[in-house]
C-alpha cells in the first residue's frame, strides 16, 4: 500500500500490519455528486428510446394519424358520406379522388381520412377506461392483500374469463339502438381491464415490501398516501407498456366489431365498416378493401411498434434480450 500522503513526514514508527486506515473524511463519503444530471427509470428510458429509429418511425406515424384525425379537412375537401353517386360505384381513381370510389360511389380517400378520428377516439377512450379500472383494481388488490385481494381478484377473474371481443359482441347486440363511439368504447373497455390489473397487482406485490415503503411508513404517512405517492409510481412501468399495446388492441377491436356488424352504424366513418362493405366485391374490386385495410394495419402497427420500443426501454430483461 503506497503512502497516501507523501508530503507529511512519517510520524508513526509502527508499520501497519492490516490495511491502512481509510483516510477519506467521512463527510466526503456523504456528499452527493450534484454536478451530474439526475437519473431515474424514465430518464434512462428516454435516453434509450431516442436512439432507436423504430421509436421515431412509430412516433411519426402516430403523429400523422393524430393530425389526420384532428384536421381531416386539411387532407381532403371531399365529404366522406354525402355526395356519393352510385354511377361512380367501384370507380377508378382520378386526380381529385386519388383512391377511387367505394361500392356506394363514395370517395375512398376521404372515408379513410375521416375514419381516423373514429379509430383514434375509440382507442383513447378504451385505453383511459382500461388504465383507470386496471390501476384501481390492481393497486388495491396488490397493496391491501387479504380478503380485499381475494374479492377484487376473483371479480377480475370473472371479467377475464370472457374474451373481451365476445363480451362486446353481446353488449353491442343488446344495445343495438344505442351504438356510438362511447358505447362501443365502454363495451370493449369493460372487459379488457383485468389484464392490466393483473400486471399491476403482481408488480405491486414485488414493490410493496421495498425499503422506501418502510421508510415512508416510518415517517408516518398513511397507507393510502403511501400507495398513491410511492408504491404505484414505482410499479407503473409494466402498466405503461401494456397500455400502449392495449390502445392498438382497442382499435382492432372496434374494427372487428364494426366488421361483424355490431360496431358503429354506417353514419360513422369506420375502417371496419368500410372493410366489411367492400367484402362482397373482393373478386371484382379488391382495391376498395385494400386501402382501408392498409390504413387500419398501419395505425395498429405504429402503436404496437411504440409499445415494443417502450417495453425494451422500461423492462431490463427485454433490453438484455435485444
Amino acid at each position: 500500500m503506497p503512502d497516501h500522503n507523501p508530503s507529511t513526514p512519517p510520524t508513526r514508527r509502527l508499520e501497519h500490519y492490516v490495511a491502512p486506515l481509510e483516510e477519506t473524511p467521512l463527510e466526503a463519503i456523504d456528499t452527493i455528486k450534484t454536478d451530474g444530471k439526475p437519473s431515474n427509470l424514465w430518464i434512462d428510458a428516454w435516453h434509450d428510446v431516442r436512439r432507436r429509429p423504430m421509436f421515431w418511425i412509430s412516433a411519426a406515424l402516430i403523429l400523422l394519424v393524430v393530425i389526420v384525425a384532428l384536421f381531416p379537412t386539411w387532407f381532403t375537401q371531399v365529404p366522406p358520406n354525402s355526395g356519393c353517386q352510385l354511377s361512380n360505384s367501384n370507380g377508378t381513381p382520378s386526380a381529385e379522388h386519388p383512391l377511387g370510389y367505394t361500392r356506394q360511389g363514395c370517395d375512398i380517400f376521404s372515408r379513410i381520412v375521416h375514419g381516423a378520428g373514429t379509430s383514434l377516439s375509440v382507442g383513447i377512450i378504451v385505453t383511459v377506461l382500461v388504465f383507470t379500472l386496471g390501476v384501481l383494481f390492481g393497486s388495491f388488490a396488490g397493496y391491501y392483500g387479504g380478503w380485499i385481494d381475494s374479492v377484487l381478484s376473483r371479480f377480475g377473474d370473472i371479467f377475464f374469463s370472457i374474451p373481451y371481443i365476445l363480451a362486446a359482441v353481446v353488449i353491442m347486440s343488446v344495445l343495438a339502438n344505442y351504438r356510438n363511439v362511447w358505447v362501443i368504447s365502454l363495451a370493449i373497455g369493460l372487459f379488457a381491464w383485468p389484464a392490466t390489473a393483473r400486471v399491476l397487482r403482481s408488480e405491486i406485490l414485488r414493490v410493496k415490501n421495498a425499503d422506501f415503503v418502510t421508510a415512508a411508513t416510518a415517517i408516518g404517512l398513511s397507507r393510502f398516501r403511501i400507495l398513491w405517492s410511492h408504491v404505484v409510481p414505482n410499479s407503473i412501468a409494466p402498466v405503461i407498456v401494456i397500455t400502449t399495446i392495449s390502445l392498438a388492441s382497442a382499435i382492432v377491436a372496434e374494427a372487428t366489431l364494426s366488421f361483424l356488424g355490431v360496431g358503429l352504424p354506417s353514419t360513422f366513418m369506420s375502417w371496419g365498416n368500410d372493410i366489411a362493405q367492400a367484402q362482397t366485391t373482393l373478386r371484382t374490386a379488391p382495391q376498395v378493401l385494400v386501402y382501408p385495410s392498409i390504413a387500419l394495419s398501419l395505425t395498429v402497427f405504429s402503436f404496437i411498434m411504440l409499445g415494443e420500443v417502450v417495453r425494451d426501454a422500461l423492462d431490463p430483461k427485454a433490453r438484455a434480450q435485444r
Binding site: 376473483r154 374469463s161 363480451a167 347486440s173 355490431v262 378493401l289 385495410s293 427485454a318 434480450q321
Partner: protein, 308 residues
Amino acid sequence: MLWYTGKRLLQVIPVLLGATFLIYFMVFAMPGDPIAALYGDRPPAPGVIEQIREQYHLNDPLIVQYFYYLAGIFQGDFGVSYSGQPVNEILARTFPVTIRLALLAIFFEMVAGIVIGLVSGLRKGGIFDATGLGASLVIISLPIFVVGFAAQYFLAIQFGWFRPTVSSGAPIQDLILPALVLATVGFAQIVRLTRSSVIETSGLDFVRTASSKGLTRRRVVPVHILRNSLIPVVTYLGTDFGVLLVGATVTEGIFNVPGVGRTLYQAVLRGEGPTVVSFVTIMVLMYLIVNLLIDLLYAVLDPRIRYA
C-alpha cells in the same frame, strides 16, 4: 396432484357462475320487452302474454330466472336459436368442424412458431433473428380479417392454390387456408415467447454444465434448452385459445366454414340476440374448460406449480 386438481376445480366454480351471470345480466338488462319483440306490431291477447311470461319464468326475479337458465345449461340445454332449432343440434353439427379447424391452426402455429422462435433465440442478434422479430411485429399488427381477405384474394382467387371458400362437409384440405389464417395471430406471439424463453434458458447453469461435460449441441439444444423453454409457450396456449375463438368467428365467416364461429358470425350479422348469447356462453365455457385443462397440464409439466 390430486389436491392441486381439486383446488383448481374449486376455483373455477365462482368464475363459471360469475361469467354466466354476467352474460345473463347483460341480456336481462336489454331494453325492450321480449314478448313484444316476439309478436311485433300486433300484440297477442293478455292471457297469452301471461302464459308466455309464466312459461319462461319472466315474472320471477332476476336471480331466480338466472338459476333456471343455469340449470338448463347444466342439463346441456342452451336454448333455442332464432329459427327455432335447438342450439344443441346446431352445436352437434358445427362443433367438430371448429375443433378440427382449431387443432389444425394450433398445429401450424406451434410448429412454425417454435421452430422460428428457437432458431431466432439461438442466433440472437443475427439477420434471421432481426427479420423474424420485425416480421412478427408486422403480423401482430394485422387484424385477422385483413389477413383473411389477403389470403383469400391472393392465395385462393389469384393463384388458385386453395379453394376460396370451404365446401360442405369441411374436408381437411379445404380447412388448410382458414387454419393458416387463424394461426397467424398466435404464431407471432409464439415466436416471440419461444425466442425470449430460449435466450433465458440458454444462459442457465444447467445448460452450461451440459455443454461443458461434452454433450454435443445436437443434444443440448433439443433436450436441455428447448424442453425447458416450452413451459411458457404451453401456458400461452390458454390465452391463445380465447384469441382463437374470436378469430374463428371472423375466419369462419370469411371462408364460410360451417363451424361454431360462423353460426355466431351469422347470428351477429342478422341481429339474432338469443342465438348470439347462447353461442357466446358456449364459447366462454369452452374457454374456461380449456384453460382449466392447460393449468392441469402445466402442473404435470412443472412440479413447482403443484407443490406451491
